[in-house]
């Protein structure tokens, strides 16, 4: 048989989707306010901080995996929580991975937003808080693209998921770690099948984001 679509594959796809969605959601909850605060604030080290955030976008996933492993391993500060080799560990790694991407793209989204948006909201009586909400609403499509980019990054990463998830069959095996495993076993057809599934999933998300962007214009 060229490939097999079975319960195990469904579980793998399901887990990949769940951990990627959850980690993107959690990262967005932190990154969007962070990106907005960075955009609105003025302080001396801001250009440097922006440079750091932009550099972190390219941080290798194995390095993130290594750091999370260090924190979650038995001797690490969060070792007693017993999170290592669980889906929760994968989520932690992926949140760290998505944070700089969504933060940097959020910042860029607000930078590209018409400066009159905030001025207009303020002059019509909006508070600092409600004018921020107006800015988020006006930039929502660019923010959606930022979240989509974060999702793409975490869905396709393998290094961190492999290190902190452990690639345990039926528990922490994601699509990318399964592809790595199948390839190492010489099961190229199965690896290719999973790779195509991953591609379809990533493309579907991309198409959804683009469609909503097009609906706007």
């Amino acid at each position: 048989m060229f490939f097999s679509w079975n319960r195990e594959v469904m579980d793998i796809v399901g887990l990949s989707f769940r951990v990627s969605t959850l980690s993107t959601f959690l990262a967005s909850l932190m990154s969007i306010p962070l990106g907005l605060s960075l955009f609105l604030s003025r302080f001396r080290g801001k250009p440097f901080l922006l440079q750091v955030v932009n550099s972190l976008m390219a941080m290798p996933t194995v390095v993130i995996g290594l750091l999370v492993y260090g924190v979650l391993s038995r001797q690490g500060p969060l070792g007693p929580l017993g999170l290592l080799y669980t889906p929760g560990a994968i989520v932690i790694g992926e949140v760290i991975m998505a944070l700089p991407i969504i933060t940097a793209l959020t910042y860029a989204a607000f930078e590209g937003l018409d400066p009159r948006v905030r001025r207009t909201a303020l002059t019509l009586g909006a508070t600092l808080w409600s004018s921020s909400w107006v800015m988020i609403r006006e930039a929502r499509y660019a923010l959606l693209a930022a979240v989509g980019a974060g999702f793409g990054r975490v869905l396709s990463e393998v290094g961190s998921a492999l290190m902190v998830g452990g690639n345990i069959r039926g528990y922490t095996r994601t699509m990318t770690t399964a592809i790595a495993l199948e390839t190492s076993k010489g099961e190229f057809s199965q690896a290719l099948f999973l790779g195509m599934l991953l591609l379809v999933l990533a493309l579907s998300i991309n198409v959804l984001v683009r469609k909503s962007l097009r609906r706007r214009s």
Binding site: R116, T120, G125, T127, S130
Partner: protein, 228 residues
């Protein structure tokens, strides 16, 4: 000391953009319930002055008082001033959504009870001929329609101070007299202080109690008032 009846008092105010001096106003007092026109060429500092008065920008130096409150005071003091002042920019921004959403934006943010919205909106919508546009997407309007919507959006909140940057620049000439008269009526009914910038000296003479001219950021009185 601030003059007792001055709504705005600017003293020793300068504004720089980088090295460039765009405003230099030693003293300016604007009494309440007056209509003031600012005339001057492009780049003379009219829009900058209006944005300073709307507390959307900060001066490089000097003092600005509004209703006796310093804009350099606490955040709550600034918020209090800002609630009484609104600015309509020369190229106003309309939020995404329907024209109606834009018109009620200020009413919503200022917590005006929903029951009062229709009465607040009635006259501005009628005078500015916007009733038929309420359901239209705001981003599909012409420049003139956009300016009329922005004017209505500001007028429905009935601010104490109305700052207008070239308010009729994009409006069809036929509609201008009615809008001008309506603004004067608003001042008469609500005691609103109106400051507007214009290139049109005739409009300034028709509407304003005081006309100021800005030349390269420096202000002088053309008619009806004094700087101090």
């Amino acid at each position: 000391m601030q003059e007792a009846n001055a709504l705005y008092r600017l003293s020793g105010m300068t504004k720089h953009y980088g090295e460039r001096l765009v405003l230099d106003i030693p003293l300016l007092q604007i009494p309440p319930a007056t209509v003031c026109a600012l005339v001057g060429e492009n780049g003379s500092g009219k829009s900058t002055l209006l944005r300073l008065l709307a507390l959307l920008e900060s001066a490089t130096s000097g003092e600005l008082f509004c209703q006796g409150l310093s804009v350099n005071g606490s955040r709550s003091q600034r918020a209090e001033i800002r609630r009484e002042v609104t600015l309509v920019e020369q190229n106003p921004y309309l939020f995404q959504g329907k024209v109606y959403d834009n018109i009620v934006f200020g009413l919503r943010t200022r917590g005006v009870p929903k029951g009062l919205w229709p009465s607040r909106m009635k006259e501005p919508l009628e005078v500015l001929e916007l009733e038929h546009l309420l359901g239209r997407p705001a981003h599909g309007l012409s420049a003139g329609e956009t300016q009329r919507v922005a004017l209505a959006r500001a007028l429905v909140i009935q601010p104490q101070v109305l700052l207008l940057d070239e308010p009729t620049a994009n409006v069809d000439a036929g509609r201008v007299p009615r809008i001008e008269q309506f603004l004067l009526d608003v001042r008469a009914q609500h005691g609103t202080t109106i400051l507007f910038s214009t290139h049109n000296h005739d409009q300034a003479d028709r509407m304003a109690d005081q006309v100021f001219q800005l030349v390269q950021g420096r202000i002088r009185v053309l008619a009806g008032g004094a700087l101090s």
